[in-house]
Amino acid sequence: MADYKGVLVVGEVVDGKLAAITSELLGAGRGLADALGETLIAVLIGSNVKGYAQEGVAYGADKVYVVEDPLLEQYQGDSYLAVVEKLVNEVTPSIVLMGQTSIGRDLAPRLAFRLKSAASMDCVALGIDPDSKLLLGTRAVYGGNAQAIFAMESKPQIATVRAKAMEPLGKDDSRKGEVITLESGLDASQIRTRYLETVKEEIAGIKLEDAAIVVGGGRGIGGPDGFKELQKLATLLKGAVGATRPPCDNKWVNDTLQIGLTGKIVTPDVYIAVALSGSSQHLSGCSGSKNIIAINKDPEANIFKVARFGVVGDWKQAVPAFTEKVKELLAG
């Protein structure tokens, strides 16, 4: 039995930057490594990622492994799993952290089953049990109706972490760390799937995940035209429009606007929730907002339980008057 030590963060580079989730993971991983008295290790995997290794150090890593190979240009379960499995067998970390992203959601369970270990998915808090020294992962279950703390009794303990749930450390370019390049050892025949293309469905304007103000609409909006009204308000506030699942499933808006457990996670300064009841699944994606404002005709709607300010009434009347007043105030 190997002596498992250290915390390994599987990093991601997105749009020519170290992903925000990676710096968040490094912040969380630093805390865990310090609590255990162990090192924090990161790995960057791709076709051209070496340039970001130093940034990993600046965000807290003691060591950054870089695995580059043209076969790793696109994420594929088979290739990334082979690389991470090889690295884990070499480094034998006690904890492996990934983001709850389209990569982490896919890769963490693969790694858990390949290594006959276990993973806790979509954690919102991580800690170390003072007695057993095991990782404790807190995660939403039952669509966010409850939370559960899980321990994993096999090593390495694998966890994915929800976006914006952890604080990154301040970037410190003077931090020293080691950058180690590893061969992928990949052979094209190991990759059984074939990547064909990516189709982007980006929405014009401010990105939903980055917006300081988000206007979210639910089933009660009733159709695509209602969302145009919300867009008017969002544009005025230099914010973005999001939605619960029903408007996406009904094709009133693009699927990429979905906020919630299986959609995007938003934590704006102001979240204006319009004609949405506040299901636990949806709140999982927006409850980190600093101020939730609710407009709903049902005074018993769950959203009022998390809102700071609210209006009880038909959004079709309340929102245009709200928008008009906001316009006046911003002009004045």
Binding site: Q76, G77, D78, T101, S102, R105, P109, A112, F113, S120, M121, D122, R139, A140, V141, Y142, G143, N145, A146, Q147, A148, I149, A151, M152, S154, R192, T193, L196, T198, V199, K200, E202, C248, D249, D255, T256, T262, D269, V270, S279, S280, I293, I295, K297, F304, K305, R308, G310, V311, V312, G313, Q317, A318, V319, P320, A321, F322, E324, K325, L330
Partner: protein, 267 residues
Amino acid sequence: MNMIVCVKQVPDPEAPPASFKIDSAANKVIPPQGVAPVVSPFDENAVEAALKIKDKDKSSKITVLSLGNKLVRDVIKKPVSMGSDELILLEDEAFEEGDSWSTAYALAMAIKKIGTYDIIFCGRQAADWDAGQTGIGIAELLGIPAITLAKGVEVADGKVKVERVLADGYEVVEAPLPCLITVSNELGEPRYATMKGIMAAAKKQPTIWKPQDIGVDAAELGAKGRHTKLVKLFQPVREGKCEVIEGETPAEAGAGLAMKLREAKLI
């Protein structure tokens, strides 16, 4: 196409949040009174993905596989009423209280017993534990390729082309058969049961398999086969301190809300 769809019976996730209760001493969810369980919604999307393939290739066969104990027949037969052909239930108390590992292990062993298949479909995650690991786990245990988060699936020339959901769009990935695909809601609403399907479901006698039927020791199943330990289950406290802005009409309240947000320096 020979397809297997794995489905799970769960408490209805659409039940009002106020009806959701847990027994914190036992770390268990108390099933809400008077709310019938359902097939986990993403699993219905998985059934729909298989049915779409069967729509084009009528000779296809869809076998639905589920696991649990005392499964409600009317609930678990729903995929048959939608148009699936066979129903196999791993039903025994030994299968209860499992985690992703023990559940995937039992399902993988059952699939080995079924023997021949081209595609295995699973929902992207179950509406109870929301882990999203079982599907991938089955593929890993069977040694077949897997593609997760499908919103579109097309079979051609002995291969499957999958549109896989990404944060800002999707990617197209191809896999050889046999393979496993997990399905997301972006695939589209599952179809309603047909009258013919409801009659077929009423007549359908599910095949029941016990641990010994799939050649598995009960010690590797359910609660005993877990790799994770549930330390604590609790409900997040949501404090209701909402300041409601009043007005003669919703429009007046809407304007008042704008003033209030300005006052609070939120806009």
